[in-house]
């Protein structure tokens, strides 16, 4: 799919972003530099369209990413000329450009102060709030970012994007239960979303919330120092989440990879204590089912690897690193099996 200026560019690969930002001179040249917004001009057929402003915004983001600051400033100027300095979205873009222009930490601190100033005037300016959180995070102040996010979600709990960011921050900090809670919120607000997490955008189906949750559950279960009581619960839910992600999206590599990992681990500690199932949400499926799931995952993973390596039609979209990791997982198991036989 060729990158288009009408979609937000945050998920593009670096090459695609570069391609977009190279369109900048032609886009800027071909559209008039000022839009006459007087009533008479609106009567003429060549008046502005919403598409144009979306284009400018996306072009601005791509240009900042590829370091074309000149074009970015031009886009920003046009947006400001049309929407004024007080528009919340324009304010956030202005902040973004300022952040990009900053040379050192001191400059960033200054931008942060400006954000605080804006927010003290208008504490419901959500784009600026989010910019401030992103800035805090990129400056490495994770706990500040997390607490600001919690505050934002306190008065705006229907913001799936913010919940997803919070889950990510908690995950980085190793607070798995909190991360899982935040991710579940994303699921509640957008139960059919494919792409909650933008950094894995080139798989056929973007990173799924279900698979992401499964990964978190697995991490929570296998993390050192995890309470033994929650181990089984987390493992079962990880299994279920991965299954669900595959159900939603056939041939989903991350889903199968996770399923393989979980079933392998469950089969390894097969001598599980028989627990009373009152407290547990889901009961563990019997070992035969787990075995079959493991088998299924193995077969599917090897199929994906084979077809991707052969560059068959429709199987090219997988991320190279993910395919390599899957191959490694299978090879590891094969060698383990071989050593046992010997």
């Amino acid at each position: 799919m060729a990158p288009s200026l009408l979609h937000p560019p945050s998920q593009l690969s670096p090459a695609a972003a570069l391609q977009l930002s190279q369109q900048a001179p032609s886009v800027l040249q071909n559209s008039p530099s000022t839009i006459n917004s007087s009533p008479l001009a609106a009567l003429l057929p060549s008046s502005e369209t919403p598409d144009l402003w979306i284009k400018y915004e996306n072009l601005l983001l791509s240009c900042l990413r590829t370091g074309d600051d000149h074009a970015a400033h031009q886009c920003l100027e046009r947006l400001v000329a049309r929407f004024g300095n007080e528009n919340v979205r324009v304010m956030a873009l202005k902040g973004l450009v300022k952040e990009a222009d900053s040379q050192n930490n001191g400059d960033l601190e200054k931008v942060l102060k400006e954000y605080d100033q804006i927010l003290s005037d208008n504490n419901t300016n959500i784009p600026i709030t989010k910019r401030r959180i992103a800035l805090l995070r990129s400056m490495g102040r994770l706990s500040d970012a997390a607490s600001s996010l919690v505050h934002l979600l306190g008065f705006s709990p229907t913001d799936a994007e913010a919940w997803s960011e919070l889950a990510d921050i908690y995950l980085v900090q190793g607070m798995y239960q909190q991360a899982i809670y935040a991710m579940e919120e994303v699921l509640v607000l957008a139960p059919n979303a494919w792409n909650a997490h933008s950094s894995f955008a080139n798989t056929p189906c973007d990173d799924q919330v279900h698979a992401r949750l499964g990964e978190m559950q697995y991490m929570a279960a296998t993390a050192p120092g995890a309470a033994s009581g929650t181990y089984e619960k987390s493992m079962v839910e990880a299994l279920k989440r991965f299954s669900r992600s595959i159900e939603l999206c056939d041939d989903y590599l991350r889903g199968y990879y996770g399923l393989k990992l979980v079933t392998k681990k469950l089969l390894k500690d097969a001598a599980k204590p028989a627990k009373d199932s009152e407290e547990i949400d889901f009961s563990l499926p019997d070992s035969k089912t787990i075995e079959r799931l493991n088998e299924l995952a193995t077969v599917k993973l090897s199929e994906i690897i084979r077809r991707n390596t052969a560059q068959e039609r429709g199987w090219r979209g997988y991320d190279k690193l993910e395919v390599a990791a899957a191959r490694e997982l299978l090879a590891e198991e094969a060698s383990a099996a071989a050593s046992i036989e010997r």
């Binding site: 419901t124 705006s156 509640v188 299954s243 669900r244 159900e247 599917k300």
Partner: protein
């Protein structure tokens, strides 16, 4: 049945240039003017403060938990339900908790409600004033004679409407006077305005009247609503949910659905 003799009236062809055309042009121009007047009169939507925002979004949050509970496992759903119900019942999310239980404020005294009503008033005014002016203009200058013949037959009932100002008893209702052309313009220029001003124009009053008659959507957080009652109702809705999860038996479905 006796054939009714076809009435013929000789009209001055200049009537077309001096009455029909001017009325049409004036109507189109007023529509365009009205559109820009209402754009200018529009006030920006009022900024909500943080507490009002929290009140609205918390309610929406509860609704999405109620709608998508099946994505959660039982324990996480129960935990959320407990938290939400407690907060709803204690009024923790209310904009001003002190006013709980009191009857909702009179929308007239509420400044927010007032501005909404002023907006509506302005729109009404932008509609009524030009209409009155144009109608009196037409009545003053062009009343008293017929200007054209409609190409389709009409029943006698239309006589009073189409031939307003022409008191001739036996005339076919197909003959119309200038005031009837004015009415036709009011109802028939919608597509012209769509062409000139785009789809969301405020030029035609027909669309606005339709909007007023339609269901009162978007009134969820209107001035007359009592948020406390809405929260309590939502808490009740949450309480009666019988939980099931989409994860129940998902591995069986997977094994059945995919054959290796």
């Amino acid at each position: 049945m006796a054939q009714v003799p076809v009435q013929t009236i000789h009209r001055d062809p200049q009537l077309f240039y001096w009455i029909l055309l001017p009325i049409t042009v004036v109507m189109v121009l007023t529509g365009v003017l009205r559109h820009y007047a209402s754009v200018l009169l529009q006030t920006a939507p009022k900024r909500l403060d943080q507490k009002a925002l929290r009140e609205q979004r918390s309610l929406l949050h509860g609704m999405s938990v109620r709608g998508n509970f099946h994505a959660l496992s039982r324990s996480s759903f129960v935990a959320r339900r407990e938290a939400l119900t407690t907060a709803y019942q204690s009024g923790a999310y209310l904009k001003d908790p002190e006013r709980r239980g009191q009857p909702p404020a009179n929308p007239m005294s509420d400044p927010d409600g007032m501005s909404g009503m002023m907006g509506m008033m302005k729109n009404q005014m932008a509609m009524i004033i030009p209409n009155t002016l144009i109608m009196s203009w037409i009545n003053a200058f062009f009343s008293g004679y017929v200007i054209m013949k409609l190409p389709f037959p009409l029943t006698i009932k239309f006589k009073s409407m189409l031939q307003a100002g022409v008191a001739t008893k036996d005339m076919d209702p197909r003959w119309m006077s200038s005031i009837s052309w004015y009415f036709l313009c009011i109802f028939g220029l919608q597509s012209v305005f769509n062409f000139l001003l785009g789809d969301n124009n405020a030029a035609s009053q027909m669309a606005q009247q339709m909007g007023q008659m339609g269901p009162q959507a978007g009134q969820m957080f209107g001035p007359g609503q009592d948020p406390d009652k809405q929260f309590l109702a939502e808490a009740e809705n949450l309480a009666v949910i019988e939980h099931y999860s989409v994860l129940d038996g998902v591995e069986q479905r997977l094994l059945e659905g995919i054959n290796i």
